[in-house]
C-alpha cells in the first residue's frame, strides 16, 4: 500500500527543496542589492558559467562563507530593517537565519513570524542514523483498518 499512502513523492520534495533554495537565494540577493550598506556585505567575484538549465542562460558562482545583509523597507508604520545571514558552501545555501530588528509592534510580529518560517525546508534523516528512544507520528493503524484497505484493493483489482 506504500504507493497509495505516500502523500508526497520523494522527487517532488527534492524539487521543492531545490526551488526553495533558489527562492531563498534570490531573496538574499535582492536584499543585498537594495540594502545599500556596502560595509556589511561580503562582496564576491562574479563569474559567468554555462548552465544546463534551459530557462536561464547565465548563473553566478559565489565563494564559500557566511554573508550578512541588512534589508530596509517602509512599513505602513514607518521604516523597518531586518538582518539576514546565509552560509554558502559550493554554491549551495547550507544555513540561513533572519534576525528581526523591527520596532513597530505589527512589524515586530510579522518579522518574528517570518524568521520562524524562514529556515524553510525540512528534510528526513534515516531512523537508524540517529539515536532515539521513541518515534512519534501518525498513530500506527489498527490491523482491521489495514486488512480492510487490502481487501478493497483486491476487490478493485478483480473488478477492474
Amino acid at each position: 500500500m506504500s504507493e497509495q499512502t505516500s502523500p508526497t513523492p520523494k522527487n517532488s520534495r527534492i524539487g521543492l527543496a531545490v526551488a526553495t533554495g533558489i527562492v531563498v537565494l534570490l531573496i538574499i540577493l535582492a536584499v543585498v542589492k537594495f540594502s545599500g550598506k556596502e560595509d556589511d556585505i561580503a562582496t564576491t567575484p562574479e563569474t559567468i558559467t554555462p548552465t544546463t538549465n534551459e530557462q536561464t542562460t547565465t548563473t553566478r558562482t559565489y565563494k564559500d562563507g557566511t554573508y550578512t545583509a541588512t534589508g530596509a523597507y517602509t512599513s505602513p508604520g514607518g521604516p523597518e530593517t531586518i538582518v539576514i545571514s546565509l552560509t554558502l558552501k559550493g554554491g549551495v545555501v547550507t544555513d540561513a537565519t533572519a534576525q528581526p530588528q523591527a520596532e513597530q509592534p505589527i512589524s515586530k510580529k510579522m518579522q518574528q513570524a517570518f524568521s520562524q518560517n524562514f529556515k524553510g525546508m525540512i528534510v528526513g534523516k534515516n531512523i537508524n542514523e540517529v539515536t532515539l528512544d521513541k518515534v512519534s507520528g501518525s498513530s500506527l493503524t489498527p490491523k482491521g483498518f489495514n486488512d480492510a484497505v487490502e481487501q478493497i484493493k483486491t476487490q478493485a483489482a478483480i473488478s477492474a
Binding site: 520523494k10 521513541k134 489498527p142
Partner: protein, 292 residues
C-alpha cells in the same frame, strides 16, 4: 531494573516503560489493572462496539448518566468546540462513519451530512448528558490522550515516578532524574525517516498526520464544515502538560491558528505544512533537520 509492557488495545500499539524497580508480583498486578482500566474506557467510549455507552446513546435521544471519568474530556471538548467555532466536535461521529470510518471499516463513502450544532444536539451538565437528537459521539480526537493520562495516573498511584506511556506514538513521560526522552518525529512522506528530535521531559507529546488511516478522499481528521480531510498540513505535533490536552490540540491545530488556542492553553507546537515548511513555537523542544 526496568519493566516493559507491550500490547494492542483501542486499535493501536501500547508500550509502557517503567524505570522504577518493582517486584515481579507488583508488575503482574499492575499489568492486570492497566488492561482492565483500558477495557472499561473502551466499553464506555468506543463507537466501534455495539455494547458501548456511545452506541447506546446513538440508538435513541434521551438523558444519560456519564461515567466518573467523562468530565475532564467532555468539558475540554465543550471549551474547544467554542474556541474552534464548532470545528472540534464530538458530534463528528456520524460523518466519520458515513465517510467510511465505521465499525466494520467499510471505508466506503456514503452521503455525508455536517454534524449538528452542539446546542441543538446536546445539553451537557456533568454527570448528565441529554441528547435531543440521535447522535453518534466520537471522542477519537482526545480519547486516546486522555486514556494515556489515566494509565499514567494509575502508575503514579502505585508509587511509580519514572515512566513513559506510549500509545501509537502519543506519549506521557515522567522522570525524577532529569532524563529527557529522545523522541524522533516521523517523516510523514517516508516512515523510515525522522525530521527532527524532541527532548520530552515530564510532559506529553501527541502527533497527528494524514499519512496513515487514509482511505479514498479521507484521512482520520474530517473538517465538519467542508466535510473533507484537511490537506494543507502534512503532520503536526503538540507538547503540553497533559496528554489529553496535547491530543485534543493536535486536532484543533488543523482547523485554527495556534494563536487562537494559546490565548487559553499553554502548549508548544510544530506544524509541518504540506510544502514541508515549518511553523514552530519558540520553545518547542526539538532540533529539526533542515536542508543542508
Amino acid at each position: 531494573m526496568s519493566t516493559q509492557y507491550t500490547f494492542e488495545a483501542i486499535g493501536t500499539h501500547w508500550q509502557i516503560d517503567i524505570k522504577d524497580a518493582i517486584t515481579k508480583e507488583q508488575s503482574g498486578e499492575l499489568y492486570e489493572q492497566i488492561i482492565k482500566r483500558i477495557a472499561l474506557f473502551d466499553a464506555h467510549y468506543s463507537r466501534f462496539r455495539a455494547d458501548s455507552l456511545v452506541s447506546t446513546i446513538a440508538r435513541a435521544p434521551g438523558s444519560y448518566q456519564l461515567p466518573d471519568d467523562a468530565e475532564p474530556m467532555l468539558s475540554l471538548y465543550h471549551k474547544l468546540y467554542r474556541m474552534t467555532d464548532g470545528r472540534f466536535t464530538p458530534l463528528i461521529g456520524q460523518a466519520l462513519s458515513d465517510a467510511g470510518y465505521d465499525a466494520h471499516y467499510s471505508l466506503k463513502e456514503k452521503k455525508l451530512s455536517p454534524p449538528p450544532p452542539w446546542d441543538e444536539a446536546l445539553i451537557y451538565n456533568y454527570p448528565t448528558l441529554i441528547t435531543q437528537l440521535p447522535v453518534l459521539l466520537d471522542v477519537g480526537a482526545a480519547g486516546k490522550g486522555y486514556l494515556i493520562d489515566i494509565v499514567g495516573e494509575l502508575l503514579e498511584h502505585a508509587g511509580i515516578r519514572n515512566y513513559t506511556v506510549d500509545a501509537g506514538g502519543d506519549m506521557r513521560h515522567r522522570t525524577t532524574a532529569h532524563m529527557p526522552l529522545r523522541v524522533g518525529l516521523e517523516n510523514p512522506a517516508d516512515t523510515t525517516q525522522v525530521i527532527g528530535i524532541v527532548d520530552l521531559q515530564n510532559q506529553s507529546l501527541c502527533g497527528s498526520a494524514g499519512n496513515r488511516r487514509q482511505w479514498g478522499n479521507f484521512h482520520h481528521i474530517l473538517d465538519p464544515r467542508s466535510l473533507t480531510s484537511p490537506t494543507h498540513i502534512a503532520a503536526l505535533w503538540a507538547v503540553a502538560d497533559t496528554t489529553l490536552l496535547a491530543d485534543a490540540l493536535s486536532t484543533c491545530l488543523f482547523f485554527v491558528p495556534p494563536e487562537t488556542l494559546l490565548k487559553h492553553y499553554a502548549f508548544e507546537y510544530l506544524i509541518l505544512q504540506s510544502d514541508f515548511t515549518v511553523i514552530m513555537s519558540p520553545h518547542f523542544p526539538a532540533r529539526l533537520f533542515t536542508v543542508k
